[in-house]
């Protein structure tokens, strides 16, 4: 997550929204904070995620939620904190609210994705030169890395793409969620996550060493080697199967 400075102490904010009477959960009073959702202030539980806070405030999310667990990148959010000039980025589903947080979700992040035929690409720098020439404009400012909610070394994987080091692009971009927060901050207008996907696909298709066992198994299946076993199993009744199943050995 983006490293953040502790926000300086601030006077208790006066919320113009009606303050809900005491909120309790299992008889324990819930600590509340004031946040500004798209500019409007709301009292929400202090321990809520941004997504939870938006819903608590009464919004029905349509855009801006997918997996709700930090995998899909649907919930990119930008926010500021009181007394702090910085703009922060985070995932609404995994970032907790803070007192005075001023936040907005990004419903969609425009990006281009050139179409290509993976079978016709070479697994080297030429693929990036043809499809993503703009990466060569990277000014190495590291803004993308700072924006990444997954704490990935985003600039480094773009630099690796520039060098044609596909394994490194794959490795460093592996956990990328395509949330787009890097892309909206990049002065060189790069769409990092699509570059990462290309790098990973090139690695998987061309550079990952092929498994000899897998090739062998595919030949065996083609030769119908397991036909007899299958027929036998499929003809068994429930009791026969049960017996076989519970007596099977384990690796």
């Amino acid at each position: 997550m983006t490293p953040k400075k502790k926000a300086p102490a601030r006077k208790k904010s006066k919320s113009p929204m009606p303050v809900k009477s005491k909120v309790e959960k299992h008889g324990v009073p819930v600590k509340m904070v004031t946040v500004f959702i798209m500019g409007k202030s709301h009292r929400v539980p202090a321990e809520a995620t941004i997504m939870g806070a938006i819903e608590y405030a009464g919004y029905q999310i349509k855009r801006g939620a997918g997996c709700r667990e930090g995998f899909c990148g649907a919930c990119a959010t930008v926010y500021r904190l009181p007394g702090d000039y910085k703009i922060y980025t985070g995932l609404a589903c995994t970032t907790l609210v803070e007192e005075g947080m001023w936040l907005s979700q990004l419903p969609v992040i425009p990006s281009q994705k050139p179409v290509y035929d993976i079978e016709k690409l070479e697994p080297d720098v030429t693929a990036f030169q043809v499809l993503y020439p703009e990466i060569f404009r990277c000014v190495a400012c590291n803004t993308c890395t700072k924006a990444c909610p997954q704490s990935l070394e985003v600039m480094d994987y773009i630099q690796a793409a520039i060098r044609g080091d596909i394994e490194k692009v794959m490795d460093l971009s592996f956990d990328c969620l395509s949330c787009g927060l890097c892309a909206i901050r990049c002065p060189a207008e790069i769409v990092h996550y699509n570059v990462g996907i290309l790098g990973r696909r090139l690695y998987g298709r061309y550079l990952s060493p092929k498994s000899p066992e897998l090739e062998k198994r595919l030949r065996e299946i083609k030769e119908k080697k397991f036909d007899k076993d299958y027929k036998k199993l499929m003809a068994m009744n429930r009791d026969e199967l049960k017996k076989l199943y519970y007596a099977r050995d384990t690796e």
């Binding site: 997918g66 995998f71 998987g204 099977r248």
Partner: protein, 555 residues
């Protein structure tokens, strides 16, 4: 950070660790696996499905008279969102060869294969392309590729795990196509984990008798789905993607063949019709119905829509009485309650232990058995740990993995998991996780055959929405395999079928007929289905929304 009162119990977990490590190293099962009778006993007494209120009889439709999951019966006995007479079906808004409903793994795989077979398709999806359960699978995908693991052994594991209720031809398709799916995905660019000798890196999962769990670190689903999505987007000439445009009902022709669907634009609130020669339902599961009030691991759009539209059109459902609760959903911290902790944690040596730090169950029983054993340990034996908000939990000893597999193993192989907890100041390399069963998977679904066909001509189903592959209990790693195997099969057979079918007059009469059936059965309800999205609007806010109109749960 764990609350101070848990310290005593955490200390006990630490104290018993060396002993448990020793048992683990001996190579024998760390706890005796249950016999068939013991499994039956714990399921009967503690699995949520076996509670009386968990099921009820459905009064209308193809499965009339059957006892199915209560929440599903409620959704099936509900009104359609549309009024058939408002649609002019002679002028469809879109026309295509294949309508694919849902953009998870099954939908994308089907679109790619259909495209390669020369068919054009439209993908209707509720959220964005890829906002799906498929994006979230961490653990991996089963496929039998090692010499000691013939696909027929995989078959036996699947059938046993499913309590012998699986449809045999589907299990054969699943297990025999497995190795080819590994290869197909790699050729598309999926980065599988490999051993130094280039063989596939495989682990155990619950209910496996051979190591056959393939993975892409712990972003398996994300890596596979993003590859499939990227390939779908590479063919925009043949595959049209309609995002935030869920399908709400199917269209048939006068001969009862499936002929497309009615789509709802979530944002502009318009309805559109799609005429398609064949239709593939890949809408995934129903975790967001929060069955029995359980937290869920599922994505935001998992509301079982496919079941509802197919059922209304006359498709048969199979095993809709069985719900999968994943044994290890997070129980603490509150903000991530229900979040999935992959079974691979147990596959890699993580042991579930009670508040005394003692083992009480074999860590890799089938999911339903393992879940029931966790519930028994908490509710009957009171050996669980309770969170400040009153949730129960079992310790999942993750630090043990770092000892067994070497320091740094968790960070390398489970980065998503480490990240998830460190946000709440819990370092899972040093402290265990607190877990409890979470609503995870729809075991049953729309009945299919090995060609992914249903009893309605022209209607295909693949992935979690389908029923029969997993019997009454799916094993980990078999549904990622499922959506690939049957997504591909659905794409292939729908494309072939679409080449020779000539549709007749389009009709929504089945909606009217279903409505009449509701009336005849004297079912009075204001429920509308599919619900499309769950609503988490608090009660007091709803009370103030004086002019808001809720359709299903969606405002």
């Amino acid at each position: 950070m764990y609350p101070a009162y848990m310290k005593g119990s955490l200390d006990l977990v630490e104290q018993t660790r060396p002993k448990r490590l020793e048992i683990q190293k001996s190579g024998k099962p760390v706890y005796p696996p249950m016999t068939a009778e013991e499994r039956e006993n714990v399921l009967q007494r503690f699995h949520p499905d076996y509670k009386k209120e968990a099921r009820r009889v459905i009064h209308i439709g193809p499965n009339k008279g059957e006892s199915i999951t209560t929440e599903v019966a409620d959704m099936l006995e509900a009104h359609s969102r549309i009024e058939p007479e408002l649609f002019d079906l002679t002028q469809p808004d879109y026309e295509t060869d294949i309508l694919i409903i849902g953009a998870g793994g099954a939908g994308c795989a089907a679109a790619i294969i259909a495209m390669q077979k020369g068919a054009k398709s439209i993908i209707s999806t509720k959220l964005r392309l890829g906002d799906a359960n498929s994006m979230m699978s961490q653990g991996g995908m089963q496929a039998a590729v090692t010499p000691q693991d013939p696909p027929s052994r995989h078959y036996l594991d699947v059938i046993g795990g499913g309590h012998f209720d699986n449809k045999p031809d589907l299990v054969r398709a699943l297990t025999e196509d497995g190795p080819d799916v590994v290869k197909w995905l790699e050729d598309l660019g999926v980065v599988w984990d490999k051993n130094p000798d280039h063989t596939m890196y495989v682990l155990h999962g619950g209910g496996t008798s051979r190591k056959r769990m393939h993975s892409c670190r712990d972003y398996t689903g994300a890596i596979i789905l993003r590859t499939l999505m990227d390939e779908v987007r590479n063919h925009s000439d043949k595959i049209t993607i309609l995002e935030f445009m869920p399908t709400v009902d199917l269209i048939l022709d006068h001969k009862g063949r499936c002929a497309g669907g009615v789509l709802y634009n979530l944002e502009t609130e318009e309805y559109f019709t799609v005429k398609a020669k064949a239709t593939i339902i890949t809408t995934g599961g129903y975790g967001r119905l929060h069955i029995r009030g359980f937290d869920t691991t599922n994505h935001y759009g998992a509301t079982g829509d496919g079941l509802i539209m197919a059922y209304r059109a006359g498709a048969k459902l199979l095993y809709m009485d069985s719900v999968q609760y994943h044994p290890t959903g997070a129980s603490f911290p509150e903000q991530i309650a229900g979040f999935l902790i992959t079974e691979k944690i147990r596959g890699a040596g993580g042991q579930p232990v009670n508040k005394h730090g003692e083992l009480f169950v074999f860590p890799r029983e089938p999911r339903d058995v393992e879940s029931a054993a966790f519930i028994r340990e908490c509710l009957e034996r009171h050996n669980g740990t309770q969170t400040p908000s009153g949730r129960w939990g079992i310790w999942l000893d993750s630090p043990l993995i770092e000892i067994i597999q070497g320091a740094g193993y968790l960070a390398k192989n489970f980065p998503a998991m480490v990240r998830q907890f460190i946000r709440y100041q819990i370092d899972i390399t040093k402290e265990p996780m607190l877990v409890y069963p979470s609503l995870h998977y729809q075991n049953g679904g729309i009945e299919i055959n090995a060609k992914s066909e249903t009893n309605i001509p022209g209607l295909y189903v693949a992935g979690e929405a389908s029923g029969g592959v997993h019997g009454r209990n799916r094993l980990m790693g078999n549904s990622v395999l499922d959506y690939n195997v049957f997504g591909r099969r659905a794409g292939k057979h729908a494309a072939e079928y679409s080449k020779h079918v000539t549709l007749g007059k389009l009709s929504l009469e089945h909606i009217t007929a279903y409505e009449n059936e509701l009336k005849k059965a004297r079912i009075k309800t204001d429920r509308i289905a599919p619900v499309l999205l769950p609503s988490y609007t608090p009660e007091d806010v709803r009370k103030r929304q004086l002019t808001a109109h809720y359709e299903g749960t969606l405002r």
